[in-house]
Structure formats: structure tokens, C-alpha cells
């Protein structure tokens, strides 16, 4: 990224909606085409992750994540005004956890019922 300082509008809110891992994403644009609201646009550079152009139009349905066939390439991020109050308490220990915390507990790897 350039060190220049640009004159840009404030970032639209929510700022991200989804986030890509450029190491895993191969820029296939499946997520671009599945999104109901066209939140993402194809990157002008081929094989690069899409650009989130309209995060403010995201419904947070997760269909882009569901359709992606490269696990971990795309992650849905709840808006902060919602995720900040998603928290839980572990019964046995009394510990508090929340979405987005600095040192999260290990993931629960159990899949949904099949």
C-alpha cells in the first residue's frame, strides 16, 4: 500500500461485511455471483479476491460463505453493533467469551446435524 495520504470519503458502515484470505481465495468470483445484493465486485486483477464495494447492502445471510468451495477463503463478519453483544458464559468455569475477542477459546468443530 502506498504511503501517500488520499482524500477519501469515510468508509461505508458496516466497513467489511466479509473478509477474504488472499492466500486461500483464488478469485473465482463464485461469491460475487451468488450474492443477492451484489455486495462484491470482481477484482480487475484476475485471480485476486473480489472487492467489497457495497458492504452497507449486506444482509449477512452467509450464502457467499456457504457457496465458496475453498474453506477459509471468505469469512462473514457481523456488524460491530451486533457482534459486540454476542457473548456467552461457560457454565462449568464461569468464563465469559464473546465474538471477536482477543484470545478466543478453541473452536467447537462439531458440524450441524446431517
Amino acid at each position: 500500500m502506498s504511503d501517500k495520504v488520499y482524500m477519501v470519503p469515510n468508509p461505508p458502515t458496516p466497513n467489511k461485511a466479509v473478509e477474504f484470505d488472499p492466500e486461500i481465495c483464488n478469485g473465482c468470483n463464485l461469491c460475487v455471483d451468488i450474492c443477492r445484493s451484489d455486495v462484491m465486485m470482481p477484482n480487475p486483477e484476475k485471480k485476486k479476491p473480489p472487492i467489497v464495494l457495497y458492504p452497507d447492502e449486506c444482509w449477512f445471510c452467509g450464502c457467499c460463505v456457504e457457496e465458496c468451495n475453498r474453506p477459509g477463503a471468505i469469512k462473514m463478519l457481523h456488524p460491530l453493533n451486533q457482534s459486540i453483544v454476542v457473548s456467552w458464559k461457560r457454565k462449568g468455569t464461569g468464563e465469559y467469551f464473546r465474538l471477536g475477542m482477543k484470545n478466543p477459546p478453541p473452536p467447537n468443530t462439531r458440524p450441524p446435524v446431517r
Binding site: 450474492c35 479476491p49 467489497v52 460463505v65 478466543p104
Partner: protein, 662 residues
């Protein structure tokens, strides 16, 4: 690099629009049956019309494979009265729903749902949606039938609601449409209906559309057309600033095009005044905070000190065990499911946590925050709620199940916190909605008036799903779409070839592309939407009167002629969003006209007139269907049980047999 901000802060020009720009270029498409809206209702309509040999075209604003309110999945299927385990008849179910809505509901739609939703679900199973516990993971549970392996929700005794693994519902419907040769036009918004001779009130012979990626124009000509589009979701409240479009049960695309284009064509509408209220951008993650209702029905709620909130039946009698939460009360025939669209009458009332929870919180009996504690339920119940329902419902599979488990949430060990709200907010059962503001209205269940063929008041125009007045929930959309598809195909077999009126097409083209020709200094669609919402909040909010409603009408008209006329669209996407705002103006006008016509308040419709404060006087207990005739609003009176009066037969069953086309 993910965000636009990152992308533009580099030494490179701003990229051009990534799709070809073809503003105004015409595509002419002919079909036997044209389906407007590729959601749940539209897909079932398309599949069933195609199965009857019709050439079918689907027009969808998003991407059919995953768009619509059911696009992300579904976890329960309502009104399956004909499933082998159901103890409720279609007649009993229909009567319970209609009566719960105080009569302001759609009889044919509810009965069709009760008669066909099980068959519709079996269709879905054929297409690849899992509807049974085939792997025996939940064997032995009290909600499971050991023979059919079906699993039930909400009322384990009467068994009329089925838990389903519907996360792949839309892809399965999409593949079936492809297999049947249905032509699908994604990213195309329907902008108007075409009518015979270009006149209002004549036979519908197709529609026009604009592509939201390329700006292309479409002329769809069809012998029969079905509107299967959603209700508007951002008429009274619009701000993306807090949480984007996350807090609404309907996505951004839902602006009520089906209502507006039907209205302009002269079709008739009912119950447009009905509305709820919303907390707007202050809602919580849908179905994703601790609460005891809907998808999480029956979950134990405990307070900050681990003290459990008791559950009670409809009479306030405490339920001592967890299984009792899913059983009818003594003397109760059956409990209605969640998601029907109407809160149940006493006869079919839900079991709930104590009814006076707000008072008990105020008195200090329960200390906030509250938690949803799934560990107090049996392992199968816990797994059914979180692993099956949350794991398959739209807006929860990825947003809640996947996101929360990756962050470490484990329902076997953890209690999910409920939102911390003012005590009175816990009176509502649906805590994720937050604290609703009364004049922040949420569009109710107004829509097209239909007959027993699911035909609207216009020849050649059928309806399914949320575009029909009174419709609610996934199964209802699916079964009404299925029925409407059959009826539209049957009509198309005998109908004359459609001939589009060129002048009507040209007028629509002029209207549709006007936002591209404005000054780049004009306002954009978001500010326009916010202005429309402000008018609706102030002049058609919780309390209405003739004077303020008329001001609202005037302001909407002025807005259309000034600010909206100058609204600028920089690309096809913004063009579509700007046209949606024009749709919202029309839908707002429809709501205000309907509000002016009903000179009585109604608790049943959640409708308050300051100048007519008498609540639900019997003489106003009827539908007031309204339509445009020569661009003037015409209102008539229609009994609430019109569907059982001449020219129809006196019973549901007779009408169904006469019309269902099976």
C-alpha cells in the same frame, strides 16, 4: 485487500464498472408463463408450470440459486396437516390461523398450505432436501416418529410442523428448474407489467425489466404472468449506518415491486394498512442471541445468578418439566407453530416463559443479563435446536452456527447471553428484534387479492407467496407458488398470444432510464430512501388521521416530482436501487390510500386512527379491496369470508376440489 477503501488508496485509477454497460438495449423474450420473483414461491411456481408443459421464464432481481427470504435456508415447515403423523386436519388448521388473525387473512392461501404443504415438502425431498433423520442421530427423541423418521417442532403431540434440513433448499429448487428447462434471468428487476392495449385493468400480457449489472432492458411477453415477489422491507425505516441491512428479516432487494407494478396495472389489494413495529438498526443478530422462542423454542432461560425463569402454559400454569413445553395444555387441541404470521388465539396459544417477566425483572426476582441455557435440555432437544434448526435456518447456518462454533461456542457447555434491554422489552417473545419503536413501522401482510385459482383481479395475472395478502412463512410461499404455477400454466394453454403495446414499453423505458440523465450533483438513492421513510414515519406512523395522511400523500407526490426526479444513478446497480425508491413511493401511496379508506381503528390490524378512535367496530370488520381505475383509487367492501360465499362453494374442501387442478 478486501475493502474499497484499501483498493482506492493506491496509485492506480478507480476501476471502471466491471460489467458491460448496455443501457436501453432491448431483449425481447416470449414465454407461456412468466414468473416475476425467483424466491421460494417463484421457484415452486416455475417448476410446476414447467411440469405441465409450459415454456417458463423466471425474472429475479438477485441470484435465483440463493436469493429471496428462503435463500439461505429453512429449518421448519408449517401446516403439514396431511403428513402421516399429523393429528390436525386442514380445516382445523385453516380455521385456527384465520381466527387468530381476526379474519384478516387469506382463506384460500391458508387452506392450500394446509392441503399441499406436505406434498410440497415431499417434492423438495425428491429434489435433494433432507427432511428426515435418516442417519438416526436423534433416534428416540420425543419429537421424532420412529417409522417415518420425521421430526416435529413446537407441538410434539399434534405434529403438524416438521423440522427440516433446508440449508440447500434454494440450490435444489434451482437445479430442478434448470433440469426442466426453465429460463432464468437473474439480476433483472421487473419494473412494470404490460397490459393488453397498454391500458390499466386489462389482461396482463407480460412485463418489462432492467438488468442491475448491465442496464439492459427486457420486454417479457407471456400468456400468463405470476407475481411471486416479496413485501417491502424498508418503507418506514432506512439506515444502513448501524448494521447495514442485517437487522431486517427481508433483504435490501425487497421493496415491493410486486405490489407497485400490480397497482399500476390496476390489480386489487387488501389489508395494506396492517403493520408491526421495528427497532430498525438497533436489532440484534437474527435468531442469534439468547431467547426462548421461534427457532430456540423451549430453551431454558436463566438469569445472571443461574436462576431459571419458569415456563407456563396458556393459562399461566407452571410447567414443571421441559417436555411439557412442547405439549398442548390440558384440554388444548393443538398449539400453532411459530412463523405463521399471526399470534395464536387462546385455543392454540403457545407455552412461554412467565407472562409477567418484565415485572419480575423490575422487582429484582431475575437479574439481567439473562441467558439461553441449552444444557438444561435433553441432548436430543439441544441438538435439534442448535444443530438442526440453527444449523439449517436461513440467516443462521453461517451467521450463527458456523460463526459462533468457530469462535468456540459450545451448546453442551455454554449459555448464550440474551440482549440486555429495558424490562418491558422482554414482553415481546422475539428478543433479537430488540426494543421496537411504535412509529417505526414494519410492513404487515398486505397484498394482492386472489380467488380460488390464485388469480388476481386481472386476467392473466396470478400470485404466490408474499405478494398475496395474508401470506406468511416459507411453506406457505412454497405451496401457494406450487398451486399458482399449475393454474397459470393451465390458463396459458388456452390463452391468446400476447401483443405488447409499443407506447407502453416506450413510456416505461423513458421512466426507467431517467436517473442516468440527471446531474451528477443530484442526491443518491440512499438519501432518497431515507426521505421516503421520514414521510411514512411522520404522516403514516403509529397514529394516523385524515389530515396528516393527506399531507403524507402530498409530500410523496412532491418528492416524486422533485427530489426523486433529480436522483442520480452512477451505474446500473444504483439505477436499480433508485428505481426501487420509486417503487417505495408507490407502495407508500398505496398504504396511505388504504389508511384513508379505513375510517376505524383496529387492534386486529394494528391500525390507529386518531380521528376514528373506536376500535374494531363491527361495520368495519371487512376487507376494503382497492385498485386503480383510470388512475383513480377505487375502494370496495368485501366480506372477510368472501372465499366461502358465491360465486364460490360454501366449504374449503369443495372449493379446493373444484379449483386445485389436480
Amino acid at each position: 485487500m478486501t475493502t474499497w477503501q484499501e483498493f482506492i488508496q493506491r496509485d492506480a485509477p478507480i476501476p471502471e464498472w466491471p460489467y458491460p454497460i448496455r443501457y436501453g438495449e432491448e431483449n425481447e423474450i416470449t414465454a407461456d408463463v412468466l414468473i416475476l420473483g425467483g424466491g421460494i414461491a417463484g421457484c415452486h411456481a416455475a417448476i410446476n408450470a414447467a411440469r405441465r408443459g409450459a415454456k417458463v421464464v423466471v425474472v429475479e432481481k438477485g441470484m435465483t440459486k440463493r436469493s429471496g427470504s428462503g435463500g439461505a435456508g429453512v429449518d421448519h415447515w408449517l401446516g403439514t396437516c396431511t403428513n402421516p403423523c399429523s393429528k390436525v386436519t386442514p380445516e382445523e388448521y385453516t380455521e385456527a390461523v384465520i381466527d387468530s388473525a381476526g379474519g384478516y387473512d387469506c382463506g384460500p392461501l391458508r387452506y392450500i398450505n394446509a392441503k399441499e404443504s406436505w406434498d410440497t415438502l415431499l417434492d423438495c425431498e425428491q429434489m435433494g432436501v433432507q427432511i428426515r433423520d435418516v442417519n438416526d442421530e436423534l433416534k428416540g427423541a420425543d419429537f421424532r416418529d420412529e417409522e417415518t423418521k420425521l421430526m416435529f417442532a413446537y407441538d410434539y403431540e399434534s405434529r403438524h410442523t416438521i423440522r427440516v434440513y433446508g440449508h440447500n433448499m434454494k440450490p435444489c429448487l434451482y437445479n430442478e428448474m434448470k433440469r426442466l428447462g426453465v429460463e432464468i434471468y437473474d439480476r433483472v428487476m421487473a419494473t412494470s407489467l404490460l397490459t393488453e392495449g397498454g391500458k390499466q385493468g386489462t389482461r396482463v400480457i407480460g412485463a418489462t425489466g432492467v438488468n442491475m449489472r448491465t442496464g439492459e432492458f427486457y420486454i417479457f411477453k407471456a400468456k400468463a404472468t405470476a407475481i411471486t415477489m416479496a413485501r417491502p422491507g424498508r418503507l418506514w425505516v432506512f439506515s444502513t449506518e448501524l448494521n447495514g441491512c442485517a437487522s431486517n428479516f427481508t433483504d435490501l432487494n425487497n421493496t415491493g415491486e410486486g405490489l407497485a407494478i400490480g397497482w399500476n396495472a390496476g390489480a386489487e389489494f387488501a389489508t395494506m394498512v396492517q403493520a408491526g413495529s421495528t427497532s430498525g438498526g438497533f436489532a440484534y443478530v437474527q435468531l442469534g442471541v439468547g431467547y426462548p422462542d421461534n427457532t430456540w423454542k423451549g430453551c431454558s432461560i436463566v438469569d445472571a445468578n443461574g436462576k431459571e425463569v419458569p415456563w407456563v402454559d396458556r393459562d399461566g400454569r407452571e410447567l414443571k418439566t421441559v417436555p411439557q413445553r412442547f405439549q398442548p395444555a390440558p384440554g388444548q387441541k393443538f398449539i400453532l407453530a411459530h412463523g405463521v404470521g399471526a399470534a395464536p388465539r387462546y385455543e392454540n396459544q403457545w407455552n412461554l416463559p412467565v407472562h409477567d417477566l418484565p415485572e419480575r425483572i423490575r422487582k429484582g426476582e431475575f437479574v439481567l443479563p439473562l441467558y439461553a441455557d441449552l444444557t438444561r435440555l435433553s441432548a436430543t432437544e439441544r441438538r435439534a435446536i442448535f444443530g438442526l434448526m440453527v444449523g439449517n435456518e436461513g440467516k443462521t447456518r453461517i451467521p450463527v452456527y458456523d460463526t459462533y462454533t468457530k469462535a468456540g461456542f459450545d451448546p453442551d457447555k455454554d449459555m448464550l447471553q440474551a440482549p440486555v434491554m429495558p424490562p418491558e422489552a422482554y414482553k415481546s417473545r422475539h428478543w433479537p428484534d430488540g426494543m421496537a419503536v411504535p412509529h417505526w413501522r414494519r410492513f404487515g401482510r398486505g397484498g394482492l387479492v386472489i380467488d380460488w385459482d390464485l388469480r388476481t383481479s386481472l386476467e392473466g395475472l396470478y400470485a404466490g407467496g408474499g405478494s398475496i395478502f395474508g401470506c406468511g412463512a416459507h411453506a406457505s410461499a412454497a405451496s401457494s407458488g406450487r398451486y399458482a404455477g399449475r393454474k397459470a400454466a393451465d390458463y396459458a394453454h388456452t390463452a391468446a398470444e400476447p401483443v405488447a403495446d409499443r407506447k407502453q414499453v416506450d413510456n416505461e423505458k423513458t421512466r426507467a432510464y431517467a436517473p442516468l440523465k440527471q446531474s451528477k450533483g443530484g442526491i443518491g438513492w440512499k438519501e432518497l430512501n431515507a426521505g421516503i421513510s421520514r414521510i411514512m414515519q411522520d404522516y403514516c406512523g403509529q397514529y394516523k388521521s385524515e389530515e396528516t395522511l393527506k399531507v403524507g400523500l402530498r409530500l410523496l407526490r412532491e418528492l416524486r416530482e422533485s427530489e426523486a426526479a433529480k436522483c442520480y444513478a452512477a451505474n446500473p446497480h444504483e439505477l436499480g436501487r433508485t428505481l426501487e425508491c420509486q417503487t417505495l413511493i408507490t407502495v407508500g401511496e398505496m398504504v396511505i390510500h388504504a389508511s384513508l379508506a379505513r375510517e376505524a381503528s383496529s387492534a386486529l390490524l394494528n391500525f390507529s386512527r386518531l380521528d376514528y378512535p373506536k376500535v374494531d367496530p363491527p361495520e368495519w370488520h371487512q376487507f376494503l379491496p382497492m385498485r386503480l381505475e383510470d388512475s383513480k383509487v377505487k375502494v370496495r367492501e368485501l366480506p372477510l369470508d368472501y372465499h366461502l360465499k358465491p360465486p364460490y362453494a360454501p366449504t374449503y374442501e369443495e372449493n379446493y376440489k373444484l379449483h386445485c387442478g389436480l
